[in-house]
Amino acid sequence: MVSAATAVMGGNGTESAAPKIAVRDVTIRYGGTPALSGVSLDVREHEVFGIIGPANAGKTSFLKALNRMDMFTDGMKVEGSIEFNGRPIDRLRNVYALRSRIGVVFPLPVGLPLTIYENVALAPRLGGMRNKAELDDIVERCLIRAALWDEVKDRLNSLGSLLSGGQQQRLTIARALSQQPDVLMLDEFSIAVDPVTTMRIEDVLKELKHELTIILVTNLVQQAQRLADRTAFFLEGECVEVGKTSDLFEGRVQDSRTGDYIEGKFG
């Protein structure tokens, strides 16, 4: 799976100067009115890229555009150009390889109605892996990295969908990691998770940052402040500004709306 994907993506990710994901003038429409318009930004390799903003800002649509989920969404149209590792994604012949390079974590944890083991082994199996020992190894490694191994190692064959909310969210992170992704996208992952688990997942993300690129959509500005290297502020379908997180949070903003949102004056 890895080799095929790498060949398709046309790179081994070593060109650190070039952005991992380059977004130019992207507009997303559902039917007539745009949900997001004219967004241009770069996501760099090995950074945590935060996206903050209130509801209906277009954050989730943006993530969907990045892994070509518009293909599966009725009426969703993406204009503009998005490049992943320097390759325009709208011209990829194998979008499945692109998706397998991008792990996604949803707002509400989606434990598939499979066992814990099968949940984590699903992505490698989809990629054609059959070897039991290899699968065992991946499942254990991913669960350890997602800080869930100790809690579930004795019941890998019980249903993943019966775990608690916080455990399921870590299970979905383990599942995303089992794809061996370059990029991990998290969409408001802490909505249905208790504060203690949230902090554990944030610690996991700080570790993962060394190995992959993370795009973190959050409606908690403090979470972006804790984790993100750079942060974009989306508002009502517009990318208001992108800057170093420390700049944004220390008042060095280019647009007063960003400052107002971060200080909690609205949203």
Partner: protein
């Protein structure tokens, strides 16, 4: 403070009135079932014997057993299932998982609804024209089973579709986001969770197919045959037609014989239903979300 007003009392009386009304209506539902089963058992049980189940009809069908009809019904239902389940499930998967909402799928849906509304005698005539004559299968198990399959196809499609629809969209999205194709998603996540619902449709189909008489009368079922079918191109006896024959077409049949046939017919349906329900409950217990 808590004293009941006139209005409160009246509401309370109305409440108990309606409750009783609905309860009586529900109990009325059980009544026909009990009456049918009671009559059949009382009048037909005396006919049931080892020889009745495994013997051939004798003396111009006024005595003997029903074995050829029993075997024939099993043939007819099995072949019909072999055709309609794969076809119906595949169509439902296409409609629910691949096709979008457009004029094409709307026409197909309309066709399915209309197909479900066609009277069985019309299916029978269609079966004669299409399978017996046009395709040249003759009056055979194959022609009769194909007619039955087409008749019950809407049931399979609709119930499969409903059970696919009941699998949450979030499961599919999670799978697609991992790089799975639509088919991989269907095979690994959607179908396994839809199987209990699909089985419900199959149960309904089995029950209906077992009892149908009109569609097989002209296409493959015979009045009387002294041997068992050996292939799908043979004619066969069938329980439902045999019941019709012994109750109306043959003189001097002892009273308990038709009731015995009916009892076996209903018993077969109930047996298959309970097997499928047990299987469904077992599968439901294994998968949960």
């Amino acid at each position: 403070m808590f004293q009941a007003s006139e209005l409160n009392l009246r509401n309370k009386r109305t409440e108990s009135l309606y409750r009783t009304l609905f309860l009586v209506m529900t109990l009325l539902l059980i009544l026909p079932v009990l009456l049918i089963m009671g009559t059949l058992i009382m009048k037909g049980a005396s006919a049931i014997s080892w020889e009745f189940l495994f013997g051939y009809p004798k003396d111009g069908m006024t005595a003997g057993g029903i074995f050829p009809a029993l075997v024939g019904t099993i043939w007819l239902v099995s072949v019909a299932l072999l055709v309609s389940v794969p076809l119906g499930v595949a169509a439902a998967i296409y409609l629910n998982e691949y096709a979008g909402e457009n004029w094409f799928t709307r026409i197909i849906n309309l066709a399915i609804i209309n197909l479900a509304g066609v009277p069985s005698i019309v299916h029978a005539l269609f079966g004669v024209g299409a399978f017996v004559i046009f395709f040249g299968f003759g009056t055979s198990i194959l022609a009769a089973s194909l007619t039955l399959a087409i008749m019950t196809l809407p049931v399979v499609i609709v119930s499969t579709r409903e059970s696919l629809r009941a699998v949450p969209m979030a499961f599919r999205e999670a799978c697609w986001n991992m790089g799975a194709t639509r088919w991989q998603t269907i095979r690994r996540v959607v179908l396994p969770n839809a199987v209990p619902g699909i089985l419900t449709g199959v149960i309904l189909e089995v029950s209906r197919t077992t009892g149908e008489t009109a569609p097989i009368m002209f296409t493959g079922a015979a009045f009387f045959l002294p041997f068992l079918p050996e292939s799908v191109f043979d004619q066969t006896m069938a329980l439902s037609l045999h019941l019709f024959v012994v109750s109306t077409q043959v003189p001097n049949v002892p009273d308990n014989l038709p009731y015995g046939v009916a009892l076996v017919l209903i018993g077969m349906v109930l047996l298959m239903n309970s097997l499928s329900i047990a299987l469904r409950m077992y599968l439901r217990g294994k998968k949960k979300w």
